[in-house]
């Protein structure tokens, strides 16, 4: 893991170390204040180590992410097409469940099932209009031969 000792990473290690030690030190300081009779410091005494623990958590996670990236492992949450950034104002294109009438399979593969063709036309229209909703489907274009 040579990459973890690049200047940027050394800076991050130092930052994590300083923040953690600082948080623990502040917790200790609050403990001493609490021992001196400042009762509100008991609350802060417990809060500061939690912040320090959070720093350690972030630090460990960054290292973990870096190692995953270095070994070429796929990220835990692969980017999906529908999670891509959406242009402002563009319609929502999340995959919605679409109710279609289904029929028991018989007699298809002949290529002249009108219902199947209508459905394929519907699917093709949806594919050609990625921003559209199923309810926007105008129906079969009449000019097209049946």
């Amino acid at each position: 893991m040579k990459g973890l000792w690049s200047p940027a990473w050394v800076a991050r290690h130092l930052l994590a170390l300083v923040l953690t030690v600082g948080c623990l030190g502040l917790g200790w300081w609050q403990f001493s204040r609490a021992a001196d009779g400042n009762s509100i410091s008991y609350g802060y005494m417990f809060q500061w180590p939690v912040f320090g623990g959070f720093v350690v958590f972030i630090w460990l996670r960054e290292i973990q992410l870096f190692r995953r990236k270095a070994t070429g492992e796929p990220p835990a949450e692969p980017a999906r097409a529908d999670r891509a950034p959406r242009a402002p104002g563009a319609p929502v294109t999340f995959g919605r469940p679409v109710r279609v009438t289904s029929r028991p399979a018989h007699g298809e593969a002949t290529g002249n099932d009108p219902e199947l063709e209508a459905y394929n036309d519907y699917l093709a229209w949806l594919a050609a209009h990625p921003g559209a909703r199923p309810a926007d489907y105008p129906g079969r274009v009449p000019a097209e031969p049946q």
Partner: protein
């Protein structure tokens, strides 16, 4: 993603307001007026709220794949009175994709 953004914005606003209470009202009362009651009640409360803020910011940063430095910057901006509101606006407008508050579900 929108849920994480909403959580972040909510807690950022709360932490910002409580911080201002603490700095603008509590600290003058304690150090000028010698009346520490606001600091004593709001202070620890703000500490716990800031923890929630950190977690919400971390969650948002993870979901929108911020660079590490930006996450740290946003986390630290929550500790600065008044600047926290500007940071929240900046995050919502520029640093989160498709941050339209209401998606155009139907026309």
């Amino acid at each position: 993603m929108q849920g994480a953004l909403t959580r972040y914005r909510t807690i950022a606003w709360i932490v910002g307001v409580v911080l201002i209470l603490l700095v603008v009202i509590g600290m003058p009362l304690k150090y000028l007026g010698d009346n520490p009651v606001v600091v004593e009640t709001v202070g620890p409360f703000h500490g716990f709220l800031y923890m929630v803020y950190l977690v919400a910011t971390f969650d948002l940063a993870r979901r929108v794949h911020w660079p590490f430095s930006r996450m740290v910057l946003v986390m630290l901006s929550g500790t600065i009175p008044f600047l926290s509101f500007w940071a929240e606006r900046k995050v919502t407008k520029n640093w989160v994709p498709s941050a339209a508050p209401e998606p155009a579900l139907s026309k």
